[in-house]
């Protein structure tokens, strides 16, 4: 549905030209395919579960240079690679991987950065197993794909620790002004692409730190904030201006921005409205939305209370409702804040869980208990309105639903009560309505998402584009970034020609 399901002819030609360079031929000759496929995948080094579940430091440690070169040697350097088509932002994966094999890490990082403004982020949080690594031909041959994500992380970490990304020589300023709403993955990507094209970009962010879900949602143990700070710093060095604590729709409307001379606007305001199940007791003290729980801990640093002023309930027996990555982040956070028992309550079975396999695996190692085919039906409070227990119902799988997954149906009479003092509801978000509500003429779909032309990400208003969760309703960081690249290209065309959709 993104309008970029296939690699276009221009990109295919570029990739082929790189493939045919002499150094690539030499590398291919140096190690034959039959030896490459025998090399075992290098596992991601990580801290032990016992150690890491007591703190918020990063779980994965990253590959060493030797491990990275060995891993890169596994790549067969296919003439028609599968990996690029699996990447929403179309990184020239074989070229960067082969640069790693040659030991040219800085060049590899620069190659990734041509297509990806947030490589250190994507190397950590992308679901590579369902994207580039799923379509990797080595996976088809041996079942074990090249660890592309780990290599992306490796080259961007090297780049950062060796003085940071080098700002490319920028074209002369075009004099065009672009407003970007929201400093999340989509907004940061659009800003980076357009700044590199010579446009003047201002990002308007409602919160007081840039990053969107990367700063309020994804915990430190998966994505350290210092990485995001470095990426935002790079954007500022590209000339991007950041206006924090600026709520488009309230501090100024989208029309105000256009009246202020912004010729194009990109809306990447995200899915900022938490869903609840509307079961009794959901407003008891001790029941959080995942957004609130994670924002308190990540953005406001409640894990360091009272040095930081924002508190959060530690929870002795914590239950997280949901089976996605946000649920995994929440339950592992509860564990780190001292929960003796930390449960996942998910209404379907293990195979339907949308969370990444790696996150589920890490959660299991950390002692998280998984309760499948279970839904909460009511929360029970004490005389002071504080949560003390929850009633759940068992489910069984029935016929497949619209998503193709078997629909869970209640088992009559299977209710049971379990003691909990913290519940985090992580069943998804809806698009934030603030901009649609305050922008006349902006066409919105029935779930509150902004309607776009998927080929350009143009909205119903001329010069206004949108991407990420505000158009998708709830997706991934990398899909938001793919939208952003499409939109940036269309905005650039529009500014240069006065058209472009």
């Amino acid at each position: 549905m993104s309008g970029q399901d296939k690699i276009g002819p221009a990109l295919a030609a570029e990739i082929l030209a790189e493939f045919e360079k002499d150094w690539r031929k030499e590398l291919r000759r140096a190690v034959p395919v039959k030896e490459r496929i025998k090399i075992a995948r290098r596992p991601m080094p990580q801290r032990t579960a016992a150690e890491r579940s007591l703190d918020f430091a990063e779980v994965n440690l990253g590959l060493s240079a030797e491990e990275a070169v060995a891993e890169a040697r596994r790549c067969l350097d296919c003439a028609k690679p599968g990996c690029i088509a699996g990447c929403p932002v179309r990184i020239d994966i074989p070229t960067f991987v082969k640069l790693v094999e040659k030991g040219e890490f800085a060049a590899a990082a620069a190659k990734v950065r041509e297509a990806n403004s947030l490589p250190a982020v994507c190397g950590r949080v992308c679901p590579q197993e369902t994207q580039c690594e799923e379509t990797c031909h080595l996976r088809k041959a041996t079942g074990v794909p090249v660890a592309i994500g780990n290599l992306e992380r490796f080259v961007s970490d090297i780049e950062r620790t060796r003085g940071g990304a080098v700002v490319p020589s920028l074209p002369p300023p075009t004099g065009h002004k672009v407003a970007v709403v929201g400093a999340g993955p989509a907004g940061l990507t659009v800003a980076g692409e357009l700044a590199r094209a010579g446009h003047r970009v201002t990002i308007f962010e409602a919160l007081h730190d840039a990053g969107g879900v990367l700063v309020y949602g994804i915990p430190e143990f998966r994505l350290p904030k210092s990485i995001l700070v470095a990426e935002v710093d790079y954007l500022e060095r590209l000339g991007v201006e950041l206006r924090l604590s600026f709520i488009v729709g309230r501090t100024a409307t989208l029309d105000d921005l256009r009246a202020d001379g912004y010729e194009a606007v990109f809306i990447g305001s995200g899915a900022g409205l938490p869903n609840f199940m509307k079961v009794p007791g959901e407003n008891l003290v001790g029941v959080y939305s995942a957004n609130e729980y994670l924002t308190r801990v990540n953005l406001m640093r409640a894990y360091d209370f009272p040095r930081y002023d924002t508190p959060v309930f530690p929870g002795r027996r914590a239950a997280v409702i949901g089976g996605g990555n946000v649920a995994m982040d929440s339950v592992r956070t509860a564990r780190r804040l001292g929960a003796e028992r930390a449960l996942i309550i998910y209404r379907r079975s293990r195979v339907e869980m949308p969370a990444r396999v790696e996150e589920v695996h890490h959660a299991e190692e950390e002692g998280i208990e998984f309760h499948f085919l279970t839904v909460p039906t009511r929360y029970i409070g004490d005389a002071h309105g504080r949560l003390e227990a929850m009633e759940c119902l068992r489910m069984e799988l029935g016929e497949p639903d619209a998503s193709g997954r078997r629909r869970p149906v209640p088992v009559p009479g299977s209710e049971f009560i379990t003691e909990v003092d913290l519940v985090v509801v992580a069943i998804g978000q809806s698009p934030n309505p603030l901009i649609p509500q305050t922008t006349p003429g902006l066409s919105v779909g029935k779930w509150g998402t902004i309607d776009v032309d998927w080929a350009t990400m143009a909205t119903s208003l001329p010069g206004v584009y949108a991407g990420g969760d505000i158009v998708r309703g709830g997706a991934t960081v990398i899909l938001a970034m793919g939208d952003a690249r499409t939109a940036a290209a269309a905005i650039d065309r529009r500014l240069r020609n006065g058209s472009g959709g």
Binding site: A206, L207, H208, Y216, S245, F246, I247, R250, T251, A252, G272, L273, P274, F276, K278, E282, N283, L284, V285, Y288, S289, N291, E292, T295, R296, M300, R301, F305, P306, R307, Y308, D309, T310, P311, H384, G385, R386, N432, P433, L434
Partner: protein
């Protein structure tokens, strides 16, 4: 970062904060609030906008120094900066020409009620302002309120304003004296709920400006959820104004007290650090 233009103690424990925020000053309307964070390690809290100066580009808030955040704010001086002063948030109050409006405020709400009274007056209403203070010396902004009110009633419990009554009794008296078409109340939860109870028998529409705990203030977290007419609402985007007769006050009290112990811990830790 937004710069403090003025910070002034109005009466014991109640302070005024005026901050340079030209965009907010240009846009804000009565009933809206700002999110404020006093320093880099602080907490984000909502403060009702009490006044603004569009020409100078400044916004005024009045608050009571209670916990860590408000004590930090009370130590700010002109020229200091705050990391966050964001808004205007929430839906503006519905101001119409309805007849006679009773505007009731207490604590920080004495200031917050002022722009509402002014707007109702400008919309052609007869405006009665009722303010609640524990003692006469806690009254502030009398002149400003008198300038927009047809009648100003001060309820204080120390007898020195010629009165020892509680606000609900005043509300009932006022309702008994003549027709009231709208009641609006701003202040602590206790003040608002007791006014809503006082007007409930008469059925006069009573609008309250709720102040639950918030984190982002833009609808993203849901910390501020309140039950109104049996349905969950987010005070930050669906409010902060709601029909006081439909609010689940018991739930709101409980949620306001969510972090009572932590607030004490936080204050003790900050005092030890700040005043060793």
């Amino acid at each position: 970062m937004p710069r403090v233009v003025r910070r002034e103690r109005l009466v014991p424990n109640i302070h005024l904060l005026e901050v340079e925020a030209p965009e907010i000053a240009r846009k804000c309307r009565p009933g809206q609030f700002v999110m404020v964070m006093p320093d880099a390690r602080g907490e984000r809290i909502p403060l009702t906008i009490a006044d603004w100066d569009r020409d100078r580009g400044t916004v005024v808030s009045v608050f009571m120094a209670v916990g860590t955040t408000t004590r930090k704010l009370a130590l700010l001086e002109a020229g200091d900066t705050v990391p966050i002063f964001a808004g205007p948030l929430g839906l503006p109050s519905e101001i119409g020409s309805v007849g006679t409006v009773l505007c009731a405020g207490g604590c920080f709400g004495i200031a917050a009620i002022h722009p509402l009274a002014r707007a109702f007056k400008a919309a052609g209403n007869r405006v009665i302002v009722l303010v609640d203070v524990k003692a006469h010396y806690l009254l502030y902004w009398r002149d400003k309120l008198e300038s927009v009110a047809d009648e100003l009633i001060v309820s204080s419990r120390d007898g020195l304003t010629g009165d020892t009554d509680y606000v609900p009794r005043h509300v009932r008296d006022i309702l008994g004296r003549g027709r009231i078409d709208r009641v609006v109340a701003v202040g602590c939860t206790y003040l608002m709920s007791s006014i809503a109870e006082a007007t409930r028998p008469s059925g006069v529409k009573t609008v309250v400006s709720l102040n639950p705990i918030m984190v982002d203030g833009t609808g993203m977290c849901g910390a501020c959820r309140v039950t109104v007419d049996g349905r969950t609402k987010f005070a930050c985007v669906d409010g902060p104004d709601f029909d006081g007769h439909l609010v689940d006050w018991v739930e709101l009290y409980a949620r306001r007290r969510s972090y009572f112990d932590d607030e004490i811990r936080s204050l003790c830790a900050w005092e030890e650090e700040r005043f060793p």
